[in-house]
């Protein structure tokens, strides 16, 4: 049994076998939000999605949005920068929790 088989991405719509109405609504929302030009270009959206794919650690999305970035004209330098934004945000989010640690240290009169 393989987890995260790349072929499985093509079967995403199978999730709608039960609860089709909900999946249809999801796909409509998803395709509008990620795949259409709006105030953001398709390339900007693809770079955001690539960054989110990394923070969410989704191999399907990393495959899909690496290609989408290339097909919207992004280059490896821009894509790597997007991943660094994601990675540094993740690190920052973890580090800001150290304030909570410090609050507890203070409460325990350890600081």
């Amino acid at each position: 049994m393989d987890y995260y088989n790349p072929e499985d991405l093509k079967r995403f719509s199978d999730v709608g076998e039960f609860g089709k109405d909900l999946m249809d609504k999801f796909f409509e929302y998803y395709n509008s939000a990620t795949g259409e030009e709006g105030a953001l270009t398709k390339r900007e959206k693809a770079l955001i999605a690539l960054a989110v794919a990394h923070t969410e650690k989704c191999p399907y999305c990393i495959d899909a949005y690496t290609t989408q970035c290339l097909e919207t004209g992004a280059d490896p330098e821009q894509m790597t920068e997007a991943v660094h934004v994601a990675a540094s945000m993740s690190a920052g989010i973890k580090l800001i929790h150290a304030i909570q640690m410090r609050n507890t240290l203070e409460k325990n009169r350890a600081l």
């Binding site: 390339r43 290609t67 290339l70 097909e71 919207t72 004209g73 280059d75 330098e77």
Partner: protein, 333 residues
């Protein structure tokens, strides 16, 4: 077995047209695209012609003259589109351009930029005169530049190609190219197994970055899809990615891209005078039929040429994927 049959049908371009109720017949012959040499100073990874410094095929003077006769006898053929290899490396190139211009034809040259600086890889002959020659003959220059920075360009076309291309573009700009009067168009094709981005938005990026970083001006950007034939096909197969790429092209079939595909208005001539529906069919040796034989520049007949049946293969999905792809770039606005 049934699954295999479905796959074969899906990959059958003629079947796809029938299923979609579409018909692709020639409209006219507006452009004669002539591949006058397979010799090139570069050996790019995607090249569907398999051109390189080691190729020796050249169009003869007799064939060049016959092409000129065809241009002269047929008013509907307005454009001569010279390609290769590096077409400037054919010994009769300058003559061909001058004579076609004197017939009042619009001449386009698929110019790889670096040949100006590299010269002839076999003879060492210099080619620095090219930008001036183009300007003097008011040639439309169409040049490959896979990206506005060196990474993708050098990866596809070889180490140092981007830097040389920029130098050559500057020389063309100095001759007055890129300001609308003398046309300088650039061609983007993906460096790998993905489809080209939207032509309009990429053109805006190219213009901004090339101007800002290098002071380069050009007129239009054409985005082209990589054809899964010859060198690119071998590369895909080596990476076990051929089927996946074909599937991508088939899935991206866009009926709206059909109208503008080049084989409806163009004929492609090989260095040995054979005629094809397009440069890709030429490389696959799918010559236009003429009764029991093949159509050539020596038995050319415009009526027959416009009544011919276009020959299709799986590679045709490359011209109809997404925004479409032709020698003039995207076919869907």
């Amino acid at each position: 077995m049934a699954q295999e049959k479905t796959k074969t049908n899906n990959h059958n371009f003629s079947r796809k047209l029938i299923d979609q109720g579409l018909d692709i017949d020639p409209i006219t012959v507006q452009t004669l695209q002539v591949n006058i040499t397979k010799l090139c100073n570069q050996a790019c990874t995607h090249c569907h012609v398999d051109s390189s410094p080691w190729r020796t095929e050249q169009m003869s003077l007799e064939s060049v003259d016959r092409c000129l006769e065809i241009l002269s006898e047929n008013d509907c053929i307005k454009n001569l589109d010279l390609t290769g290899g590096a077409p400037e490396l054919n010994p009769h190139f300058d003559y061909f351009v001058r004579e076609a211009r004197s017939l009042g034809k619009h001449v386009m040259v698929r110019h790889n930029l670096t040949v100006t600086l590299d010269g002839n890889p076999r003879t060492g002959e210099e080619k620095m005169y090219i930008p001036g020659f183009f300007a003097e003959n008011r040639v439309e220059v169409i040049s490959s530049l896979p990206y506005y920075s060196s990474y993708f360009t050098d990866k596809q076309r070889g180490e140092g190609v981007f830097e040389k291309s920029i130098e050559s573009l500057r020389m063309l700009n100095q001759e007055g190219y890129g300001d609308g009067e003398l046309k300088l168009n650039l061609v983007y094709n993906p460096v790998g197994t993905f489809l080209p981005p939207d032509q309009g938005s990429l053109e805006a990026d190219f213009k901004e970055k090339l101007k800002k970083n290098y002071g380069i001006r050009f007129d239009n950007l054409y985005t082209l899809t990589n054809m899964p034939i010859n060198r690119f096909e071998k590369e895909l197969k080596k990476q076990n990615a051929y089927e996946e790429y074909i599937e991508k092209l088939v899935n991206a079939f866009n009926p709206e891209a059909v109208d503008g595909i080049m084989c409806r208005n163009l004929l492609s001539v090989s260095h040995d005078g054979k005629i094809y529906d397009c440069d890709f069919n030429q490389m696959l040796d799918m010559q236009c039929r003429n009764g029991n034989g093949g159509l050539t520049i020596f038995n050319f007949d415009l009526q027959k040429a416009t009544k011919r049946k276009i020959r299709f293969g799986v590679h045709c999905f490359g011209c109809t994927a997404g925004g479409g792809s032709s020698c003039g770039g995207q076919t869907v606005s």
